[in-house]
């Protein structure tokens, strides 16, 4: 009888441990997949609007993409008017080297507390940019370009990881280009007018 009891206890404990191991495995496997959280709450992603907002808008954009920039005032106006939106700007440079250069400088400026200023300055340009033009626009806006460059280099791992994740997410989500918006849980490719934006926001709010 004693042997019996011990065997039962042993078997029970063994099964329990197996279960924990199994649980650990299944949770770990999940961690490798793209999650909603990865898209909406990237820890390194600069946030505009209300950081505590109840609806998140993610924009994948490029500093040389004309419609991203033309659409930007509409977007920021709607975000400001709503007052309860987290606007997450994800650089996805698809227009070549100057776009990457622009993203690097603006991300570098983030560490100096000047993300908003740098981002707004570049978003106010029209379309095509060269590296020199980018430096000039940022300089005119009062950003120390050399310091921003250094800040980017100092945090290179973090920012390159952020850019890599953005491109990876764009591929995984099947985004075709910029701008692309994620509002709540819905993907909206292309520029959006104010009415569509407001509609998308209220839908996201209802769904959450």
């Amino acid at each position: 009888m004693n042997i019996h009891r011990r065997m039962m206890l042993g078997a029970g404990a063994g099964l329990g441990l197996l279960g924990l191991a199994g649980g650990a495995m299944s949770l770990r496997a999940r961690a490798d997949e793209l999650t909603v959280d990865d898209v909406l709450h990237d820890p390194d992603g600069p946030v505009l609007g209300n950081a505590e907002g109840d609806v998140t808008i993610v924009e994948y954009f490029d500093y040389q993409c004309p419609f991203c920039k033309r659409n930007h005032p509409t977007l920021t106006d709607v975000v400001a008017e709503d007052g309860n939106i987290r606007l997450v700007m994800k650089d996805w440079p698809i227009f070549g080297a100057p776009s990457v250069h622009a993203s690097q400088l603006v991300l570098g400026a983030t560490g100096m507390g000047e993300y908003h200023k740098a981002n707004s300055a570049l978003m106010a340009t029209e379309a095509k940019l060269s590296n020199e033009q980018i430096d000039k626009v940022l300089g005119d806006a009062g950003i120390d370009v050399a310091a921003a460059q250094d800040a980017y280099r100092a945090d290179r791992d973090k920012w390159d990881g952020f850019l890599a994740r953005n491109a990876a997410q764009a591929a995984q989500l099947g985004l075709r280009g910029t701008p692309a918006f994620i509002i709540g849980r819905t993907i909206y490719p292309g520029a959006l007018d104010a009415a569509t934006l407001r509609g998308a926001i209220s839908q996201a709010r209802e769904a959450s």
């Binding site: 191991a21 793209l34 419609f67 075709r176 993907i187």
Partner: protein
């Protein structure tokens, strides 16, 4: 009646509105054309060997003149005689030329394949990521994806020439379309499929069954078993084995079902809180909760339902001796949880809430109830003699739960704590458990078997704990490989991993590497210095001799995206790779084997399976 119906009606109305909203959203989302429809490329060969490239541009779309690039396989630019485009004035930085409707250019005769790149936008809508295609000397066109979706049409004519080096991403990235659309990528497997696919879940269910059985041997459950059987049987009636089994069976099934329902509720609420539950803050709180539950199991305090509630539920029981009565009793008994069961049940429910998996929750908790009911079934069938005698050992069972909960807390905390800190916690837990099992107690020649066994087990745990402690001091971050920092410092492991990989950082180098391995399948491994998972792959499956042997038939190519420049991005785009680590397995015809792609952490078996798919 109306007032009662109104909320239902309102809910239905809301659901309809939500559906309409979703449909409208889907409509808006489908507005921009697929890049290959927006800009359709046609290639017409001429007699003199030159080729006419023409792009049909959809209405309301345009291509940038400055974004056309033609390159030979070794990266030399080929001039294209593009016509002048429409001036697209940019008041700030000067003019840019664009093409609407269509554009054509002549490509002079070439000796080898040519890569074409073009880029354009939908007016006032979206600017597409650069589009690429590979042109064979015989006029075959293979679209290469860049940034956007992998393009399917090239697959059909991609394999016309061996030196074409043309290949297309496998089909499975294509198939995941709907999953991308609604962004619930991680969770939207079909539930049953999901359960079957994630092998770990079978273990979870088995584990919960084991836990249930262990629960049955805690001091407030085991002594109750004969009493419960007596209640089920009713007074004075002799109980046959068959009748006993039926009655206890009904009781146990009902109890397990009630647990299952609790599991569903927990998982469902967890699923709705999934994003919140992944925050370091929430993980910390849950870990502390488990510590609190563990302390309760060690007897520091008791967690119990209010006794009035227990009494009321106790009165619900039906007629004694009937199957329905037994089932009723079983169902309510699941809700009257005694002091030993409260903490483990809470722990189980928190675990299930963390997974957010409703079916898993139902099945696992059902298994827990079943496990807890097993001794009852045994007593029903064979009478109370089958049970072990009560004693102090039942307290040990309770304490075992405490240790398991502490372990669970450490495991949870490990997801937010730095690796060495987690190893240090494991060290503390294991050493302390070992000491309590008697690792350091003095044994003499008269020590009974039981004490020696316990001391031996304690020694093992304490030793494992010490190794974890050493690992923590070495800065290791994998509790399963605490001494890995030592091994990688002077072992041959990492060298072996690097040995045969051709390192590639540009698209052209990739083409060359693939061309030089003509006729051989290839493994294209996207990695980076800053990719932590890549390190564990290199120490793990890539150092496995079996995997290395299987890889001998393949050309291993390593795409290093450590320096994340435009070229690296283009490479990842071509592979439709999500980022490092990604392994793409190409067969000899340079087509990706369906279902072979490996993303994220992989094991040796995964690699062997994928290698098998491209090796013919």
């Amino acid at each position: 009646m109306m007032t009662r119906l109104f909320p239902i009606f309102r809910a239905g109305l809301l659901a309809c509105l939500a559906l309409v909203g979703l449909l409208a959203a889907a409509q808006a989302a489908s507005q921009p054309l697929q890049p290959e429809d927006a800009f359709a490329l046609n290639v017409t060969p001429s007699d003199d060997g030159s080729q006419t490239l023409s792009w049909q541009i959809a209405d309301g779309y345009y291509l940038y003149r400055g974004k056309f690039v033609a390159e030979t396989a070794d990266g030399a630019a080929i001039p294209l005689d593009l016509p002048r485009g429409e001036r697209h004035d940019d008041p700030y930085f000067g003019p840019e030329e664009i093409f609407r409707d269509d554009v054509a250019a002549t490509l002079p005769a070439q000796n080898g394949p040519v890569t074409l790149t073009w880029q354009g936008c939908q007016q006032d809508g979206i600017c597409y990521a650069p589009q690429m295609a590979r042109l064979g000397t015989d006029g075959t066109v293979t679209r290469l994806s860049a940034g956007g979706e992998p393009s399917p049409e090239g697959a059909a004519n991609a394999f016309s020439q061996a030196d074409d080096a043309a290949w297309s991403p496998g089909g499975e990235t294509q198939d995941s379309g709907p999953a991308r659309g609604d962004l619930t990528l991680a969770q939207d497997d079909g539930l049953i499929e999901g359960l079957a696919l994630r092998g770990g879940n079978a273990l979870v269910i088995l584990g919960f069954l084991g836990f249930g059985l262990l629960l049955a041997f805690t001091p407030c459950v085991l002594p109750m078993v004969p009493i419960v059987v007596g209640m089920l049987a009713g007074q004075g009636e002799p109980l046959t084995a068959r009748r006993g089994l039926v009655l206890t069976g009904a009781y146990v099934l009902a109890m397990a079902s009630a647990f299952g329902a609790l599991g569903v509720v927990a998982a469902w609420s967890g699923a709705n809180l999934q994003v919140a539950l992944q925050s370091p803050w929430a993980i910390g709180v849950v870990a502390i909760l488990f510590v609190a539950l563990a302390l309760s199991m060690f007897g520091l305090y008791e967690l119990q339902m209010p006794s009035t509630l227990q009494r009321r539920l106790g009165q619900v029981a039906g007629r004694r001796g009937s199957v329905a009565g037994a089932a009723g009793l079983g169902f309510t008994s699941a809700l009257i949880v005694g002091p030993c069961v409260t903490a483990p049940l809470a722990g189980a429910l928190i675990y299930i809430a963390q997974t957010g998996d409703v079916l898993l929750g139902a099945v696992a908790l059902f298994a827990l109830g079943l496990g807890q009911g097993l001794p009852l079934l045994a007593v029903g069938a064979f009478g109370p003699r089958i049970l072990p005698r009560s004693g102090i050992w039942m307290q040990r069972v309770k304490q075992a739960f405490g240790v398991i909960f502490l372990g669970f807390a450490v495991w949870l905390a490990g997801r937010v704590l730095p690796g060495p800190a987690m190893l240090a916690l494991w060290a503390a837990l294991l050493v302390a458990t070992g000491v309590f099992l008697g690792a350091l107690d003095r044994l003499d020649s008269g020590s009974p078997f039981r004490v020696r066994l316990s001391a031996a087990l304690g020694m093992m745990l304490a030793f494992t704990g010490m190794v974890q402690g050493v690992g923590a001091a070495l800065g290791a971050d994998d509790p399963l490989r605490p001494l890995a920092p030592l091994a990688s410092r002077n072992g041959p492991v990492s060298e072996a991993a690097d040995l045969s990989f051709a390192r590639v950082t540009t698209s052209d180098e990739l083409d060359q590497a693939l061309a030089s391995a003509e006729g051989k399948p290839a493994l294209v491994y996207v990695t980076a210095d800053w990719c932590v998972t890549c390190r564990s792959i290199e120490r793990g499956p890539l150092s496995d001799p079996t995997v290395n042997a299987a890889l001998e038939d393949l050309a291993p190519i390593k795409i290093d995206v450590s320096d994340f420049n435009a070229e690296a991005q283009a490479l990842m785009g071509r592979l439709a790779a999500a980022g490092p680590p990604t392994m793409v397995f190409l067969n000899a015809a340079r087509s990706e084997a369906s279902g072979s792609r490996l993303i994220g952490e992989v094991g040796s078996e995964d690699m062997l399976a994928s290698i098998g798919k491209v090796r013919q």
